[in-house]
């Protein structure tokens, strides 16, 4: 495998509201490779979106990165730059954001300005990052829209976000993100607001663009079907921690962490028995203020070991080729 283009190590992003500390991301680590897709999956509150915002340094106050590193290597043998140490609104970070690393959101309606045309917004980005003239930038905007499959882009470029359907809007969002040929595309729930047939179109588009442009994709989603369809590597998060990560086939066919196993079992499948019951994960995700000590999953875990899981934070240990799990079940065999 080539060298990672992005290495996240022990990333911790905490929020400090008046009521106490929320450890939104609490020790995330993963690698992102050029031309490959890393899926970050988890349920609400697992920290997957805050992880994305941390990489782009757009974490909102009262949150901030308290430790860890986010190493971006612009090309293969570069020593890289640690995004965690840059000033969030400094010149270098602004060049990286939208230039080297681009983001597409879940709701394309709110991510576009309602008072500027789609074209204007792409033109602005292109001129900012690539320093080209107005005419040239407009031509690139039309080209970008054509690339993502927006029909009659010469006309659509002058339309506003509200004039487009959900699927077209998401395509325009992708065009905006790709207009500066980023090396890394972070897609945060890119298809969650879309219908299933539109979702299939957008996923096919992302896969196609990746093949052509060779960019790395970080796909953040709660939908395990989308992960199975799109990703090469998967990181499963629960309450701010990466509890398991590995190649997609291993995660789906040989999951090690009790949370990953339970999540896969409890997922409704299109091939399940008609009118059947699903195995459930008991309980609910704890409130971030009442985060359990030790392993965050122990109160819901079928393999809970009293006196250990509720006291020791399980370290991430290797359980196979490129496969890691943060669970004391495996820590014991390792030591």
């Amino acid at each position: 495998m080539p060298r990672a283009i992005l290495e996240v190590r022990d990333l911790r992003t905490y929020f400090f509201p008046e009521e106490g500390t929320v450890r939104a991301v609490d020790g995330a680590h993963f690698d992102v490779y050029p031309g490959r897709t890393l899926g970050i999956v988890g349920e609400s509150g697992c920290g997957k979106s805050v992880t994305a915002r941390s990489i782009l340094r757009i974490v909102e106050r009262p949150g901030r990165i308290v430790s860890g590193s986010i190493l971006l290597r612009r090309d293969g043998n570069d020593v890289g730059v640690d995004l965690a140490t840059l000033a969030p609104d400094g010149k270098e970070m602004r060049r990286i954001r939208g230039g080297d690393v681009a983001l597409i959101f879940q709701e394309p309606m709110t991510s576009f300005s309602p008072v500027h045309t789609i074209g204007n917004q792409i033109v602005e980005t292109v001129r900012l990052h690539q320093g080209v003239g107005k005419r040239e930038a407009r031509a690139r905007a039309v080209e970008a829209l054509r690339l993502v499959g927006v029909p009659s882009p010469e006309r659509r470029v002058d339309e506003y976000a509200f004039q487009l359907s959900g699927g077209l809007r998401q395509r325009a969002m992708i065009a905006l993100a790709l207009s500066c040929s980023p090396r890394i595309l972070i897609a945060d729930e890119p298809t969650t607001a879309l219908d299933v047939t539109t979702q299939a179109q957008i996923l096919a588009l992302l896969a196609d663009l990746q093949r052509r442009e060779g960019m790395a994709i970080i796909l953040i989603t709660h939908n395990l079907g989308v992960v199975a369809e799109m990703c090469d590597e998967v990181a499963v998060m629960y309450l701010g921690r990466v509890v398991e990560q590995g190649p997609v086939d291993t995660i789906f066919h040989d999951p090690k962490h009790p949370y990953t196993r339970a999540l896969l079992r409890s997922m409704p499948s299109i091939e399940a028995r008609v009118r059947s019951r699903l195995p459930v994960i008991e309980g609910s995700i704890p409130h971030p203020y009442n985060r359990p000590a030790g392993c965050p999953f122990y109160p819901r875990c079928p393999d809970f070991m009293p006196g250990r899981c509720d006291q020791i934070e399980p370290p991430s240990v290797s359980v196979g080729d490129g496969h890691e799990a943060a669970c004391l079940l495996y820590a014991e065999t390792a030591t």
């Binding site: 349920e43 609400s44 359907s165 959900g166 699927g167 077209l168 219908d195 299933v196 047939t197 539109t198 979702q199 299939a200 179109q201 996923l203 096919a204 709660h222 939908n223 395990l224 079907g225 989308v226 199975a228 369809e229 990703c231 997609v248 086939d249 789906f252 066919h253 339970a262 999540l263 896969l264 409890s266 997922m267 409704p268 499948s269 299109i270 091939e271 399940a272 028995r273 008609v274 009118r275 059947s276 019951r277 699903l278 195995p279 459930v280 994960i281 609910s284 995700i285 409130h287």
Partner: protein, 340 residues
């Protein structure tokens, strides 16, 4: 031995709901959105019928007409009331509807916005009882205790406010409220789509248990076919205001007869990376219900469309026992379903 003839609880016949499009200072009507356009189906007592389709297909509008949250433009909605009467919900006045409303209740999609944050669980679950003047205060409270137990919540929590509960627990509260008046029909509009995967399963299981225990009839409105498969006896697939296919769940999934159903099934991502591969991608977008294409509404996106599809509107007809489809070519096409 022949199967006992199922008793219908609800019969929808030729339902239409059109919304006018008005423009300008004089609010002149310039067009009409045919949100529901000639929809017919029935729901049997004790079964779960699911309405599925993509946004704008009219599934929610249909369910709202049945509950008379909207007044239908045309058509009949026959409800077999507990009293034995057969009533046309579409034609009743507000006052005549009142007693009927107790027999039809709704579970909402978003457990965060459907519960009043300033009222306790007791107030919320007791509200239908209070509004309908059922029982004394004491009896109402006893009933709330019973209902909370029924949905798996601890009655001790009834003086707490919704913010103290997780999404799954709030959805349980919503279900308890819907069951307060012993309804016979429960309309559940996307009841689990706002919940996390690990909690979805709990709520789906609970709904199935309650159905068995209380003999409930569900009209389930959803877009997630995996969820629909788990809970439904029969499925009606809608596209741009019309039912395009209606059959038993096994048949819809294993042997779909409408090209749209086939495309919908193919679009669901399979939760197994080994099943990746080339798949049928539906081109284009859902038609605009204010200006639908002529003939079959699906023809511009249909890979099997022929000249007839552009000109003639197909009608829903039975192609196999209990399996209806509205497609000119249904008899000759061999469509792909999903295994299972």
């Amino acid at each position: 031995m022949s199967a006992p003839r199922a008793v219908p609880l609800l019969e929808v016949q030729g339902l239409r709901k059109h919304f006018p499009i008005r423009k300008g200072f004089l609010r002149r009507q310039v067009g009409v959105v045919r949100a529901v356009d000639d929809v017919s189906f029935h729901v049997e007592k004790g079964e779960t019928l699911s309405l599925v389709g993509e946004s704008g297909c009219g599934k929610t509008t249909t369910s709202r007409c049945i509950l008379r949250a909207l007044t239908p433009t045309e058509g009949r909605i026959l409800f077999h009331a507990a009293t034995g009467q057969l009533l046309d919900v579409a034609a009743l006045s507000k006052r005549e509807l009142q007693p009927l409303r107790r027999q039809m209740q709704m579970i909402f999609q978003d457990p965060f916005s459907s519960l009043n944050p300033r009222r306790t669980l007791l107030d919320i679950v007791a509200e239908p009882l209070v509004a309908n003047g059922v029982g004394s205060k004491r009896e109402q409270q006893d009933r709330v205790v019973e209902l909370l137990r029924l949905v798996g919540l601890r009655p001790e929590y009834m003086r707490r406010y919704p913010h103290a509960f997780s999404g799954g627990q709030r959805q349980r509260v919503g279900i308890a409220r819907a069951l307060a008046l012993n309804p016979s029909l429960v309309v559940a509009d996307e009841p689990v789509s706002a919940l996390d995967v690990s909690v979805q399963a709990q709520i789906l299981n609970l709904m199935q248990d309650l159905q068995a225990q209380l003999g409930l009839t569900y009209l389930f409105v959803a877009h997630d076919l995996s969820v629909v498969r788990l809970v439904s006896d029969r499925v009606a697939v809608m596209y741009v205001g019309r039912v395009v296919e209606l059959a038993r769940t096994e048949a819809i999934f294993a042997t779909p007869r409408h090209p749209y159903t086939e495309a919908l099934l193919a679009a669901v991502p399979k939760p197994d990376p080994r099943l990746r591969g080339e798949r049928l991608l539906l081109e284009g977008e859902v038609a605009d219900p204010s200006n639908p294409p002529p003939g079959c509404h699906f023809h511009p996106r249909c890979p099997y469309a022929v000249e007839q599809c552009r000109a003639e509107t197909p009608s829903l007809h039975e192609i196999a026992p209990g399996h209806s489809v509205s497609c000119h070519r249904a008899g000759e096409l061999a469509l792909r379903g999903v295994a299972g």
